[in-house]
Symmetry: C2
Subunit: 220 residues, 2 copies
């Protein structure tokens, strides 16, 4: 057994490797990044990755884990409205939380996640967005609330998909949009405006879905 992930072996070297690795993995994906490039950027020896993480895959997993933890602790400190607040407010807060996760310029998580969804590396078997399980559960709750009496499981799924897809869009596209030169979200203000817009759009959409459903149920 190698001293791969022992928390006791905490070193600055380990962190330096992680910092270098997350940037390169995010830039080019798992397969395309060479360990030699990582150690060069980190200023360490070729074997350091093997020593600290047991190999390239171990390093990759450590990178993903650290990014997930950071993102979780970040969203945890975002303002969360009271559960008695009106749905509109709660939805807007949730959308903002999702967008912050997906578009944040200070984290490499969105890029890593996008790469992982499109081209799973096997590091996370069920590579999906189950990462954000808490957010998804809350979204379901809100959708059901807006749909009211007509909400069956299928209707909820449709609503969740409609809202979520508008947010995930930026996870996949923010880099591509930037590349083309489209207006991106530099500051927090722009993100808040976007969240408000998506909320407005989605609330109306959800209600329309529900009223359609109501009509269909009558004719049956």
């Amino acid at each position: 057994m190698l001293p791969v992930t022992l928390p006791g072996s905490s070193d600055a070297t380990r962190e330096r490797i992680l910092d270098a690795a997350v940037a390169l993995f995010a830039a080019s994906g798992y397969e395309a990044t060479a360990v030699r490039a990582i150690v060069q950027r980190a200023g360490t020896n070729l074997n350091s990755i093997n020593y600290y993480f047991g190999g390239k895959l171990g390093l990759y997993k450590a990178v993903l884990q650290r990014e997930l933890e950071r993102a979780a602790s970040f969203t945890a400190q975002l303002p969360q409205p009271d559960s008695k607040s009106p749905v509109a407010l709660r939805l807007e807060a949730l959308v903002l939380r999702l967008l912050t996760l997906f578009v944040s310029t200070h984290s490499h998580l969105p890029r890593l996640a996008a790469l992982e969804v499109v081209n799973p590396s096997g590091a996370y078997a069920a590579g999906g967005l189950d990462v954000h399980g808490a957010e998804q559960r809350e979204l379901r709750k809100i959708v059901r609330e807006v749909q009211g009496d007509v909400s069956d499981d299928a209707a909820i799924e449709r609503g969740v998909r409609a809202v979520l897809s508008q947010c995930v869009y930026f996870m996949f596209m923010s880099d591509a949009l930037q590349r083309v030169g489209s207006p991106v979200f530099a500051n927090a203000h722009a993100v808040r405006e976007l969240a408000a817009d998506i909320t407005e759009f989605s609330l109306a959409g959800l209600r329309a879905q529900a009223s359609k459903q109501r009509k269909n149920q009558k004719t049956e």
Copy 2:
């Protein structure tokens, strides 16, 4: 100069290579697929790729081009409503066209495009969705029409993004959803239902955006 893309050098071998390549590129992406795997699948010699396409990259470009042409000729023969039809119908037809492009199980284009957007290979410089320029232009037109008098450029952008994001979602996610075991769209009927749902949702959303805009303009 090598006889790389000359239409005259048409051979069955060339097509066999293309068929094998598109499947493998779509499965694993450009970098991850080995030339050896392609020729093995095609039943040709190792050097055949070099001979017909001048190299791996040349083959990849040829694959993309062929898929794009096929997709274009396919959507061209989809029913297109009269421009005098009500917006709802035109929007639904457009959404269906987009979804067909993004979710079609008989084409590898969506997967290739998703890979290319997230991880551009340089084969297409402005790697975006400008591919579907015609669809985007029509979408802008419809959005402006729904928004009516309050539509400025920014408002149109917001509307287009909201509708488009719901469709592109499936380009990125359909494989991941399938992997998790979520209900996917096996038949054309399911896709039509989805298109109807997205249209319903989006029409309501667009109108809400417009009325919000109207209110804002008053208070200014």
